[in-house]
Amino acid sequence: MKSRRTSLVLVIGGLLALAAPAQAEPLSRRRAIAQAVEQNPQVAAARARRAHAAAEKAEADAARWPEITLEVGVGPSLRAERVPGTAVESTKSRYDLGADDLSVVVGGRLSIVQPLYTFGKIDSFRAAAAHGIRARDAQVTMTQADVALEVARLYESLLFARDTARFLEELESYVARTIIATEERVKAGAAELGEQDVLRMEAALAGVRLGLQRARAGRLQAAAALAAYLGLGAGATIEPAEDELHAVGTVEVPAARLAKDALGRRPELVALDQGARAYGSLAAAEEAASYPDLFLMAFASGAYTPGRDAVESRYVVDPLLHFDPGILLGLRWRIQGPTASARSEQREAQARELRHLRSWAAAGAPAQVAAAHADVERARRDIAEASAAVVKAKRWTVQANADWVVGLGSSLAVVDSTRAYAELRAAELDATFRHNVAMAELAHATGTIVGDTLGLYPGKEPR
């Protein structure tokens, strides 16, 4: 009985172990970004648009090659006997039909058209398609960069919320125990303590708990959003590889240089430039529509009916029995009046629009770099200031608590010093979070966030 129960427990335990979600592998910043840009649906959609552009290029390339049209068919036909000595006379009339007159015809048409000269139409369409591919490539990179930035923001939010919650949990425990000890002493009749001391601490504890609830909620929200970006299922556990939030990345190049280099790296500028060139090529193609297309055409038409004599006239073609090949040098010219110019101008206007947008983006990119750089510098200064202040606040807390322990201090000093420490520690964490987000934004503004080519974000992996 005992062994059966033990076996049952083991089986149930095993099943539960199988059903439970596997322990999540710690996720670093680098891996989070790599995973997101690889599989995020927004990036997949951008890649699909790129594939579409590649197919358009293949279609444009194919216009250089011969177009072959073949039609074949089979159907009922009539036998016919030509009157000897004549070219087209038959022994029977068309309407003198008998069952033994029926036959079958097999026939078809073949044409092969090879474009020779199109006044630049084919080349222009090919060039437009090639620019289109480059524009879509840049848009894939843009989407990856946008996804990487969002993932960076969420990852830093997760670390910030986690560390803030940990800190506030510690603080909550400290304040709660101090309240208990104070209540005991008030109850025991300590002369220098009263209800006000307890209320003061309880108010401080409430503030801590409000912050703690906010931090815990923030952590859940950041984790859920990050899981969505990473393509993980709902309820997936995300465990950051970083044990604590610390400042990442280094800026080793002056801001002015970063801004200048950004103009060569930003995928938006590449996309707009290539898009403008694509429209420019389409404009040229539309303009070329005013001109004819020169082509070489080879063709053949044939039909065969068993039991039917061939016609021997050069003027008359028997549709049910013949073979007629041919070759010609052709000109196709669609004269559309001002239509072609109008279409060309439309494309040119679209090209101009993109060129103006590119100019605007080129002006905006350095401004974005400068803004992000300024945010990084400010956050760095805030971290230094807050860190130094936290040390002082901790010393104050130690001294206030030491006096409180022996009855020489006041609850006001304990609460004030604890509040100062809590605010400054929260400010330190906030400054570190802002620094890291600003580094990610700087990497995005310089076009380096995917691949971290400048060591801005996420920078070196922590040891």
Binding site: S173, R185, V398, Q399, V405, G407, L408
Partner: protein, 200 residues
């Protein structure tokens, strides 16, 4: 003969110059061992239960009492006042001071979550004393420097002062007590401490 005398003198000089021999561990090891023993108590699943809090604190107190020289700390905290008070007052002050400080220290330890670490950052020689520098890494990854000033008592190293965040307990209390005693009597100070002590 001259050579034998020279060797003897050299040996004597070497013995006088050498630091006192202690059969027990060095100061850093004493702190490390004490911390490890305390963590063992704090991590004991049976002792973590709320109903066993009293037992847990008693074990921690026993560990601390083996290493802290409460009498020395109490005496140093009073400064010159110590010489002016009676033996009875000294006894009462020592008992209250020890209980209050030890209780607070135990209470701090009792807030232990389970993932704290204590790192030994180094040992400084200060004449005959040693300053063992440690860093407590808390659950929230806050780094709290705690330095232990130790002196040799026979073959043991004992703590006669400790600093948290650079605030020396002894120096701080010396100033606080001195400030208080400027306007109050020693009896009033004892009453103040007694009022703070845990209600029995």
């Amino acid at each position: 003969m001259k050579r034998a005398m020279l060797v003897l003198v050299l040996l004597l000089v070497a013995a006088l110059a050498a630091p006192p021999l202690h059969a027990a561990s060095d100061p850093a090891t004493v702190i490390r061992t004490t911390v490890d023993q305390a963590f063992e108590v704090l991590r004991d699943p049976a002792l973590r239960k709320p109903e066993n809090r009293g037992q847990r604190l008693a074990k921690l107190r026993a560990i601390a009492d083996r290493v802290f020289d409460w009498e020395e700390m109490a005496q140093s905290s009073l400064g010159v006042t110590y010489r002016k008070i009676t033996d009875e007052e000294r006894k009462r002050f020592l008992a209250l001071f020890r209980d209050l400080i030890a209780e607070e220290y135990m209470d701090d330890l009792d807030r232990f979550v389970g993932d704290e670490k204590v790192l030994i950052a180094g040992v400084e020689q200060r004449d005959e004393q040693r300053l063992v520098k440690t860093v407590l890494v808390t659950h929230s990854r806050d780094r709290v420097p705690i330095d232990y000033l130790m002196h040799a008592e026979g073959d043991q190293w004992l703590v006669n002062d400790f600093s948290v965040e650079g605030v020396s307990l002894v120096n701080h209390y010396r100033k606080s007590f001195s400030r208080y005693l400027a306007n109050h009597t020693f009896e009033e100070l004892l009453e103040r401490l007694a009022a703070r002590a845990k209600p029995k």
